[in-house]
Subunit: 234 residues, 2 copies
DNA sequence: ATGATGCTCTTACGGTGTAAGAGAGTCAAG
DNA sequence: CTTGACTCTCTTACACCGTAAGAGCATCAT
């Protein structure tokens, strides 16, 4: 039995790293200070020198995830900006399925997140949206992405619920859809793209209605390169 | 000290009722079997004769809420159907803010929910959408509503986070928006309507693109009475 | 060497979900 | 009414949780 009380060389960052990994393995309900300490080779109480309490630790997880996830390209047109933002958000959420319920539940007000929000709004304003509309647009795509990813990741600690072909002749459309791969990763991917196309197209039409000279040609749904930005601001 | 062991006259329904009320007061994290028992004038272990375990109790809460929330008018046109569905869903979620994180997290596969889903898809198919598209549409509005309501209700046990005017000159748009009521109930309401208009308009344009004879006049975003249904099926 | 400070530990307390079983309440058949 | 079967409620117990309090080793500045 060598010396006890050895230094473990921890840091808030390392604690958050280990917590993220643990949450992704056992789900947020499976995370406990004792398990996290064990994963770091340390007693539970030691963690309280790096984090004031468990709630702050969880907030740290969403802060970290949200900061990585919220990226807005200031040079992109408004449609490409929205696509890039949502794609990055979703990518980060799917990379850490365990924290999805956390980011969905806790409000994100990181300074960096607010800054990205500000530039996103600036892009939309420059494209012709009103301030209120611009916030609606950004918040809408954010909440949509959150809701979508919540449905896309499976519940914390259990295996996927199997979705056994539940319907003989009573639910014909559902039966057909399940047979055609409803609920598969490919289906989620397709639905995300589908919904984003519809949303952005709907936004474009609202924009066209308030400034008819610009929006008319935003008819094709999946705009790959959109450089319709007006007189750049911000 | 009268006789002990008196019958409390409970039932699974009454237990769920009390649980729902308790969750709405203290949040899902504040719910414990002992507190719930106390609220019903009974010891914690008694509850296990009406519910196999706490997880099943929580699932019962989402089942009940989801069953009340998922209502599809089979006679409505597809746009009115979607508006009615989302409005009812949101109304039920806002009526029980404590369970919103639960319904957002747990998959809903109630028989009644599947039936409503089936008729919603039938309406969309009759309107001209493909089967895959129809499921995408329904799932999209459902996940969007979930995500929106998650952001609309404030976190479980705490007071609203105050959102103190966070921005002097660094975040001008955000400052303006906060001053104009961003985050207020009215703002949430407006954003929900805004997003739903955009989404449905986007869907209508997809429909128009695959069957150009019908969708051309679906241009105004907020269609109040839409009776564009094709040859009724289902 | 001597503090001072930082990090880790042990111990303890009140809370949680729930397994096991004892014991009352209720009802049906004799 | 008596007897049993069954249903409901209780008590007890266990392992686990977050974390408050404080003891004590490790490291570094003096």
């Amino acid at each position: 039995m060598a010396t006890r009380h050895e230094r473990a060389g921890l840091s808030r960052e390392k604690v958050l790293d280990a917590a993220l990994e643990l949450v992704d393995q056992v789900g947020v309900d499976g995370l406990s200070m004792r398990k996290l300490g064990a994963a770091l080779g340390v007693e539970a109480m030691t963690l309280y020198h790096y984090v004031p309490n468990k709630d702050a630790l969880l907030s740290g997880l969403v802060e970290r995830t949200a900061t990585r996830a919220f990226t807005v390209d200031p040079a992109a047109g408004w449609q490409a900006m929205l696509r890039g933002f949502t794609a990055g958000f979703r990518r980060e959420l799917l990379a850490h399925p365990g924290v999805v319920p956390l980011v969905a539940t806790r409000p994100v007000t990181t300074p960096s997140a607010l800054r990205e929000l500000e530039t996103a709004v600036a892009i939309l304003r420059a494209a012709g949206f009103g301030t209120r509309e611009a916030f609606h647009v950004v918040n809408t795509v954010a909440t949509f992405t959150t809701g979508h990813c919540l449905a896309e990741v499976d519940p914390p600690g259990a295996a996927p619920p199997a979705l056994a072909v539940p319907d003989p002749a009573a639910l014909p459309h559902l039966a057909e859809a399940v047979r055609d791969g409803l609920g598969t990763p490919a289906d989620h991917e397709a639905r995300f793209a589908f919904a984003l196309d519809a949303l952005i197209d709907g936004f474009a039409r609202m924009l066209a209605r308030r400034s008819p000279d610009e929006g008319g040609r935003a008819s094709t749904a999946s705009a790959q390169g959109d450089h319709e930005g007006g007189p750049a601001s911000a």
